[in-house]
Each structure stands twice: as structure tokens, then as C-alpha cells.
Symmetry: C2
Subunit: 181 residues, 2 copies
DNA sequence: GGGTGCATGTAATGGGTTACATGATTCT
DNA sequence: AGAATCATGTAACCCATTACATGCACCC
């Protein structure tokens, strides 16, 4: 909800654009689906936080461009002043590792390899962002804050990657010692 | 759902015990509320994955002790063989940092301090677990797997802590440069 | 010709939290 | 005396994903 409003405070966009932007800019710590975006935009509009402008298009549906209103900016500031709620942790990979004794390392190893792979991918993207994308908007007041979120991703992914490597080594050790028996 | 079944495969317990055990053992990566636990236990029972035994108590409600059935173990193995679904990331703190330019560092600093504080707390607990608790069940086949999940928590919390410290320094820098203007 | 991208939206379904209800016992 | 712990459970509610529906334009 406020992710949408926040992005609209930077630049007016359509619901479709919002989806794209969310994926590429906040994708590693926040996502929204269309089933969330379109109803929420209507809700934001009827609360007076955003304003929609219809652009006619032939063939495809009319483009709805939303922009934030002063009331919306006020709401945003109020929302930012509320301390974030603590996360509800839910890591299915770790849950499966936790019960790992009930299956075999051969099953678990690919899961951890996928985790390592995913971490490496995101690391590559975030390195790119920090070294190439962010310096472009150096003058933006948002730039330092965007960098903080990218740094979070980097540091977290480095941790996940190191964990995955340590865990793979351990799983392979267990596997080997099982085979000897 | 399978978190419950998995714990019951280690030891028979009541719904209340499950809550306690989940908090203390998987709390940093998986949680369940009572509103989840009791209905799910009934569902597991009617699927034949667990079996309940009623113990009479005066005063308080009868204690329901559930244990896993062979069919339940089979289900557990099948579930473990399914690759974990990728997480849906939702980090409200980062979202607020991302839109940080719309508020002031004074607002954000306490949020990041709380994050650092929380990371330090969990680190202390996990250090304790790894150095004191886990060595006690060295003989358990589960021990190496429990350690992997604890190591994940450690490494992630260390990353969060380092991020929080870096971010606090940057936020204080921004704050100082704002005040000069 | 077929896949992908643009662009909106709704409905069904599922998952989960929170608050409520009850009530004895034990600790402070 | 009052708070916390033990112990179960339900109902209301909220949030979110997924699948569905539509249909043109562009690229291969």
C-alpha cells in the first residue's frame, strides 16, 4: 500500500509501471502483485492520497496514470514516523534443514546449492546497482537511502552465500560418512 | 503445518508445548500462532498423520498429546523432498529507509538502532545455543542440522548488525550536514 | 504463427493474526 | 491481591497470491 504511494511520490505512474519499478528497485526486500496493486490504487484514490488521470489507448486498456496528492504526502510522512513492525520469519529452506535428519543429504544439497546460486545472482545485480545505477542519480536526495537498501541486500546475500558454502561442506561430509556405513 | 508434524516426529507433545518449542528452537526462522496450531493439529489428525491422546486434568482443559503416525512420517519425507518455495521478501524497515528522503534521519535512526539491538540479542541467544545447548544433544542425529539453522541465524544477524552500524554512521552524517544548512 | 510485452482488472481461495472465551494453579 | 502460566479452542478479519478474462502490437 505505502510502497505504491511512496513510489508515486517520486514519479507519477500506472499500476503496470509500479509493478515493474517495484520488481527492479525494491524487489529484494519488498514485492507486490497485480492483485494487490490495482485494488490498492483504487483505495488510495478514494482516500484522496492519489489522483488518477486516464489516457486513451486504442486496442489496449486505457492507461491510468496516478500521481500523489498533498494529502498523500502527508499520509506518507505519518506512515514513515511509525516504527516498522517486527518481521514474521518464515524460511522454508531452514525448516527443511531443521528436519534434515528425516531425509538424506542428497535431497538437501540441491536446495542449498539453489540458495547459493540465488545469492550470487542477487549479489551481481546489487553490485551493478551500486557501481553503475546509483552514481547516475547522485544528485537525487533519495540516492543515499537507496544505497542503504542495496547495501543491506549485499551484506545479507554475502552472509547467505557463506552460510550455503559452509552448509554444503557439512552436508557432503555427512553424506560421505553415511556411505561408508 | 509441517513444522508441527516435524516436531511431533521428534517427540509427542500438546499444542501448547508445540508453541513453546517453536518459539525457542525455530523462532528465528519459523513461527506459528495458536490460531494456526490448534486447527492444524485437528487437520493433521483427520488426515491420519498424527494421533491425539487425551489426558484428564482438573481445572484446566484436558491435555491433548499428539504423536506422529507412520503415515505422518511418510508425509514428512514426501514434504522434505519437495524443493522449498522461494521467499516473499517483505521488510518494512527497508521500505521506510528506501523512502527515507521524505522524512528525517532523526526519525530513522531509532529504527536502525532497534534493528541493531535485536540482532545483538539474537546473536547472544544463538551463541549460547551453539556453545551450550547443542553440545548436550551431540548424539542426536538432528544435532548437525539444528546447528546449520543456528549458524544461518548467526551469520545473518552479524550481517544485519554490520549493516545497521554502517547505516547509522551514514544517517548521522546526513543529519549533521543537514543541520549546518 | 506463436511468444512476449503492454495494460487493466476481478474472483476464488488460502493463509495467517488477533482477539475473545474460560478457568484453575502457582508465583511474587 | 494480582500477574503469569498452563491449556484449549473459535470467529472475525485482513492480507495476499493465483488464476482468469481481454486483446492489441511487435518481434522472430
Amino acid at each position: 500500500m505505502e510502497a505504491l504511494l511512496g513510489l508515486l511520490s517520486i514519479e507519477p505512474m500506472s499500476g503496470y509501471d509500479l509493478r515493474q519499478t517495484i520488481e527492479s528497485s525494491t524487489g529484494h526486500f519488498w514485492r507486490e502483485s497485480y492483485g494487490q496493486i490495482y485494488p490498492n490504487l483504487k483505495a488510495l484514490a478514494s482516500a484522496g492520497f492519489v489522483q488518477g488521470k486516464t489516457e486513451r489507448h486504442k486496442g489496449r486498456p486505457d492507461l491510468q496514470i496516478y500521481s500523489i496528492t498533498p494529502k498523500g504526502r502527508e499520509h506518507m510522512r505519518a506512515w514513515l514516523a511509525l516504527g516498522p513492525q517486527p518481521e514474521v520469519p518464515r524460511n522454508e529452506l531452514l525448516l527443511k534443514i531443521f528436519f534434515g535428519a528425516q531425509t538424506s543429504p542428497e535431497i538437501l544439497i540441491p536446495y542449498v546449492e539453489r540458495e547459493a546460486e540465488g545469492s550470487r545472482n542477487l549479489l551481481r545485480i546489487l553490485d551493478q546497482v551500486i557501481q553503475k545505477e546509483l552514481p547516475k542519480n547522485q544528485h537525487y536526495p533519495d540516492a543515499p537511502y537507496w544505497k542503504m537498501t542495496a547495501r543491506f541486500g549485499q551484506m545479507e546475500m554475502e552472509a547467505h552465500l557463506r552460510w550455503a558454502e559452509e552448509t554444503l561442506a557439512e552436508l557432503r561430509r555427512i553424506e560421505k560418512s553415511k556411505r561408508k556405513q
